[in-house]
Amino acid sequence: MPGLSSLHVLVVDDNPHMRSIVVAILRGVDIGIVQEASDGADAMEVMRGGAPDIVIVDLNMFPIDGLEFTKMIRTGVDSPYPFIPIIMMTGHTERSKVTAARDSGVNELVAKPISAKTLLDRIVAVIDRPRSFVQTTAYTGPCRRRGGGGKEFAGKLRRKSDNKAKAEQSNESKEETA
């Protein structure tokens, strides 16, 4: 059985020490090919040379941060692999940053400090529980709804496009009351 040695992972981080930590974890579990890139442009170049199976990218990078890099992969006209699974590492766990990461099109997010377990668990998630891919004019990336696809959702409607539905619901309830 080919196993983990058949995997090709690209690690993108401008900090060589954080890169070496991630690479050590990946090599520790015998992942076949582990490539490194120090920034987004470097990573794009590496990706043109051969398709990685998974990209692990840091959020906080200079000059191109992880969010921009992810958007470049997902929507760039010259992007070689727009559907590639992306795992983002970040020390920012504020809600706004997590939402921004999700909206850029990442598959999984891993909070720093990272451990072997947290990183490997995310790798298991992208391999064993892949999500549908959504392409719209506003968003390209894995489906942001986890679980049952929202069919059973009974909470508030939050999209701008839901305004009409909200108005219809409110009219219906008024009619029922009358």
Partner: protein, 159 residues
């Protein structure tokens, strides 16, 4: 519900499972996790050097008092926080977190208080020592640093 934009939905791909010959969860056994942790422990020493370099750069930015120095300081402290946590240097992570907390919500041209910053940098340097996480003296220094940050943020009208 009305749709503003057309949506294309692409079914999930199990290509990686096929490539590996089965689910990843079966291959990543407790033994594999143990090997990964062992590999991680082996690379701890070079990180100490990197933390020293980042602290040195941070001090230079602190003393230079030039616009943009705040960003260098925040980024370096942020990097140290991530590295420290990853290699389980708890006190070092706390010291770096204090710098980030002090600089949070400030603009790029912000000039931080030299005394407060220098106090925390000293704590971070001490926290690099092997036995730092079990040394009660360093814990006290971290607590003093936290109080200094809190007081300074208050003086600057940010808390």
């Amino acid at each position: 519900m009305s749709a503003e934009t057309p949506v294309e939905l692409i079914a999930p791909s199990f290509r990686l499972q096929r490539k590996m010959g089965g689910p990843a969860s079966r291959l990543l056994t407790p033994e594999a996790y143990r090997q990964a942790n062992a590999a991680l422990e082996e690379i701890i020493p070079p990180i100490d050097e990197e933390v020293r370099r980042l602290l040195q750069e941070l001090q230079e930015a602190l003393q230079a008092k030039v616009p943009g120095g705040r960003d260098i300081m925040w980024n370096n402290a942020h990097e140290i926080r991530g590295l420290a946590g990853t290699v389980s240097k708890i006190t070092l992570g706390q010291a770096a977190n204090l710098i980030c907390h002090y600089l949070n919500d400030t603009a790029s041209d912000f000039l931080p208080d030299q005394n407060v910053m220098q106090t925390i940098v000293v704590v971070a340097m001490q926290a690099l020592r092997e036995e730092a996480d079990t040394d009660p003296m360093i814990k006290v220094m971290v607590q003093d640093g936290a109080r200094a940050v809190l007081a300074q943020r208050h003086r600057e009208g940010r808390d």
